[in-house]
């Protein structure tokens, strides 16, 4: 087994090795100080969730770095305003650390709101704000009073915890917005989309399915999100919660506060996408809607299948590793890779819960490595030991895979193609196939020894 930090031994397991089953993965704990973790902080979690609200002002209160590293880094597409893609920072300097940054914050908010006329403003507190003791809440209240728009503090000081804690802070911020506008025009068959950030336009695919189903989408939380929609989101009959890590807290709150039920869904892969649509139809107890759902599923799969059939022979039996932010997504990925004939031999996440890992352990083939909060050394040794053909991960994992001569598929911020829905499954198949069968891997030592499906002309083995 790979070199694993002693203190992390409980955070790695193999699925169904023993008859009794492996013990619960020791997850949801802080990273060991000194480890090269792939994890981020509270601020990162909040920023990821709220950033796609396109007609809001997003002001990062702190030194400039936190604003720079989250400036336009995700393709969270907006069909209208692009205000969310600009980077606003109070750029705190030494004198603010000594004398406080409240004046700086207030002046910045007033100037920006006057110029951009946003429908709401989010103010993100960074580490230093928590330490120097700026009263961000008071400044927000004062500016809100003067400008007449909601100015919402986000308690996202980085040291407060992990990315998950940042998700919670973002949910608290959203909760203060929901329920502040009338719900006229919201129909009985209506939903909010939670936990979809519209990377590469994915939420538009899902909205299209729902419209064809006869379901009204009230608010996107938060991909291509709009403040006015979110304010009336409490009127919707159901919340669809994707990416459970980030917004399930909000869904819980809305259920308690407004009695809105929620459904946990995933839009990745045929099975999960179909189940999401069926789940909605079941919820509304509408046989006609269920018929329409079946039509959409049948049509979607029929359109995507030729692509799957075309690529599957080259992918059959290949071995995949998955390391992503949230474990819920990993579950869908395991299924989607199976659709392509591939076997997942390692799966892990930065922030999965014990329940997530139980699901994964049960789902994966026996012997699959399951890992929480890993690091590059561990990941690299798993890739080698498990003789992986494809690694699915994010920006920090990509170059490690490439160094080893392993194909890669970005399933994180930086993906440029839509992977949700039936069309997304076809895109995923194409992406995986393109990466796995790239001629470049024939040039790396590991693969040079193997016969290749499409040898380079003149290649010397």
């Amino acid at each position: 087994m790979a070199r694993i930090l002693k203190a992390r031994e409980g955070q790695v397991t193999r699925s169904r090795i023993s008859v009794d089953g492996a013990p619960d993965l020791d997850c949801d704990r802080r990273s060991v100080a000194g480890s090269v973790s792939q994890r981020a902080c509270t601020f990162c979690g909040s920023r990821v969730v709220l950033y796609p609200i396109a007609d809001a002002l997003h002001l990062v209160h702190g030194p400039v770095g936190c604003a720079v590293y989250t400036w336009d880094i995700r393709g969270a597409l907006s069909s209208g305003p692009q205000l969310h893609r600009l980077s606003f920072s109070t750029d705190l300097r030494e004198r603010h650390v000594v004398f406080g940054g409240e004046q700086q914050l207030e002046a910045s908010l007033v100037e920006l709101i006057a110029r951009h006329r946003p429908n709401a403003a989010f103010v993100y507190a960074t580490c230093i704000v928590g330490v120097i003791g700026d009263d961000v809440d008071a400044v927000c209240r004062a500016v809100s009073g003067r400008t007449g728009i909601p100015v919402i503090p986000v308690r996202s000081e980085g040291f407060r915890g992990s990315k998950r804690d940042g998700y919670s802070a973002a949910c608290r911020a959203l909760e203060s917005l929901v329920g502040t506008a009338p719900t006229d025009g919201v129909t009985a068959h209506s939903v909010n989309l939670l936990g979809d950030f519209n990377l590469a336009g994915e939420i538009w695919i899902i909205r299209d399915y729902l419209e064809r189903l006869g379901v009204q989408v009230v608010a996107n939380l938060t991909g291509d999100g709009r403040v006015a929609d979110i304010r009336r989101a409490h009127g919707a009959a159901l919340n669809l919660v994707q990416c459970s890590g980030s917004t399930v807290g909000l869904a819980e709150h809305l259920r308690e506060r407004y009695g809105q039920p929620y459904l946990r869904v995933s839009y990745f892969g045929f099975e999960d996408m179909a189940e999401a649509l069926y789940g909605v139809a079941r919820h509304f107890k509408d046989p006609q809607m269920m018929l329409r759902a079946r039509e959409i599923v049948a049509e979607g799969i029929t359109e995507a299948m030729p692509v799957i059939r075309a690529v599957r022979p080259d992918l059959e039996g290949k071995r995949a590793a998955i390391y992503v932010g949230g474990a819920f997504k990993a579950v869908s990925l395991v299924r989607a890779l199976r659709t392509l004939g591939m076997r997942t031999v390692m799966v892990g996440s930065q922030t999965g819960t014990a329940e997530d890992y139980r699901t994964l352990t049960a789902l994966c083939d026996p012997g699959t490595v399951v890992v929480d909060d890993s690091n590059p050394l561990e990941l690299a040794s798993f890739l080698v030991e498990e003789d992986v053909d494809l690694f699915v991960g994010g920006v920090k994992e990509r170059p490690v895979a490439y160094k080893l001569g392993v194909a890669f598929c970005d399933h994180n911020h930086e993906r440029k193609i839509a992977l949700e829905g039936f069309v997304g499954m076809a895109n995923f198949a194409k992406e995986v196939h393109a990466s796995v069968t790239s001629p470049v891997w024939q040039l790396t030592p590991r693969r040079r020894r193997e016969p290749s499906p499409s040898p380079l002309p003149g290649a010397v083995r």
Binding site: G34, C41, W71, D91, I128, R398
Partner: protein, 463 residues
């Protein structure tokens, strides 16, 4: 996306919009990557380290390693000493580096952690094995920029390792040693300044040196510590050089001063050797220090650059240029484009420091009298300048792509970071050969635009 930018420029004191800089710690992390078998360590929250690694990976497209003290709420109240001691233990037992380079963050600086005393405690408690090193640099995010963070860590390397020379300064092979602090530049640039120094019959110690680290080849194995980087032994021997050449004052001056203070090696503070004049000055200093005539190979490279400058002169003459990025890069580029007959009219860096404005003024020497020059600026201001006085070309980091699109201006990517193109870490911009490459990029951008905009009858084969 940039529809909001108003034309009227007003002074802002409270706000940064679309920054042209980032924070100190990432510069420290990059510098520490250029130390052989070193693991950079971020003493702060986990997010800092994660962001820096992601950001550097997006530019270099290489694995970037660093560990974090993983601050918690407790650490932010009681101090991060125990986190750092524990971290050092974890790092040496798990990742086995020769050196750990600790940089601070806004959080650890504000709560007042005293790094040297924590390192001493860690050593007492046995967290640091014998023969292993821990160095540090103070890099609060609320001061300076990524450039000064780089400078602080480069100086940190000197302060921890450089020794007073006990043996002769002259090598047995008769070659003279020189120290070069290359600035916050690409691995390829660090490689190129080394090559130029070697052509000048010198034996250079380049510090830091990310070549062989962040441009490492694909070998089919994953090397946690790639083969490149300046070694501790080389740093110990800094005192045996005849001079320390600092390329780019903002990123490199501090290390050169540190060598001078510790080892009495004189410093030479130069601009980054970008373009013909700055490279001439660099080669001139090496020539004087080496007491060696410039070899034919280097003279030929210079001649080729002059040749291209003559060949392409008519396409460049009088073109108005906006340049932004790191101060050392921008200063040198402003001089180069002026030497190409172009007119730098907007010149901006996000890094604070009035010496920037002064140096640009000196180098342009009245060649672009009405130019807007600003340190501590941001891209919102640059956009306003471009609306008020449009340019023919924009030169800067990837963050300029929105401006280039909004104003429909040809754009050359140059500096750090470049997040949307490939190959920059393999080809140098410094030296005479770097000048050729920059000219090719500038000319391609201008002539592609000319071709795009030419009416059919003026769309010509030969330009």
């Amino acid at each position: 996306m940039l529809d909001h930018t108003p034309v009227a420029v007003m002074e802002r004191h409270a706000l940064r919009i679309n920054p042209a800089k980032t924070c100190q710690p990432i510069g420290a992390l990059y510098a520490a990557s250029g130390l052989h078998r070193c693991l950079p360590h971020s003493h702060g929250s986990q997010g800092c380290c994660s962001y820096h690694r992601s950001h550097l990976t997006r530019h270099f497209r290489e694995p970037v390693m660093a560990s974090s003290s993983s601050f918690t709420e407790g650490a932010s109240v009681f101090g991060g000493a125990s986190n750092l001691v524990q971290a050092l233990g974890t790092i040496f037992s798990t990742y086995g580096p020769d050196v750990v380079a600790v940089h601070t963050t806004c959080l650890s600086e504000t709560i007042g952690d005293d790094i040297p005393s924590i390192i001493a405690r860690a050593r007492e408690e046995g967290a640091i094995p014998d023969g292993k090193h821990v160095i540090h640099a103070s890099t609060p995010s609320y001061s300076g920029s990524h450039v000064t963070g780089f400078a602080a860590m480069a100086a940190g390397m000197v302060n921890y390792f450089a020794e007073e020379p006990t043996s002769s300064r002259r090598r047995k092979d008769g070659r003279t040693r020189v120290n070069i602090v290359p600035g916050f530049v690409e691995p390829s640039d660090m490689r190129e300044v080394r090559r130029i120094a070697e052509l000048m019959n010198l034996t250079p110690t380049v510090l830091p040196d990310t070549s062989g680290v962040l441009d490492a080849p694909a070998t089919g194995t994953y090397e946690f510590y790639p083969k490149g980087g300046v070694t501790v032994d080389e740093l110990r021997g800094l005192g045996r050089a005849v001079a320390t050449v600092a390329l780019g004052p903002q990123a490199s001056r501090a290390a050169a001063v540190a060598v001078e203070n510790r080892c009495y090696v004189p410093r030479e503070i130069l601009d980054l050797p970008i373009g013909i004049a700055a490279t001439d000055r660099f080669v001139g200093v090496l020539r004087r220090r080496a007491a060696y005539e410039v070899p034919g190979e280097l003279l030929d490279e210079r001649g080729q650059l002059v040749d291209l400058m003559a060949d392409a002169r008519q396409h460049l003459h009088g073109k108005k240029v906006a340049i932004f990025g790191d101060p050392d890069h921008v200063v040198a580029m402003a001089e180069f484009v002026a030497d190409l007959g172009m007119r730098p009219v907007h010149i901006l860096t996000g890094t604070p420091g009035k010496s920037f404005e002064k140096r640009v003024g000196t180098l342009l020497a009245g060649r672009s009298p009405d130019a807007n020059v600003r340190s501590r600026g941001d891209l919102f201001l640059l956009h306003q300048w471009m609306k008020n006085d449009p340019v023919d070309l924009l030169i800067g980091t990837s963050y300029g792509k929105h401006l280039a699109r909004a104003e429909d201006v040809p754009f050359v990517r140059y500096g750090w970071p470049i997040l949307d193109r490939f190959g920059h870490s393999y080809f140098p911009s410094v030296g005479y050969r770097g000048g050729l490459r920059l000219m090719e990029k500038i000319l391609d951008a201008l002539l592609d635009r000319r071709d795009r905009d030419a009416p059919d009858e003026e769309f010509e084969l030969i330009l």
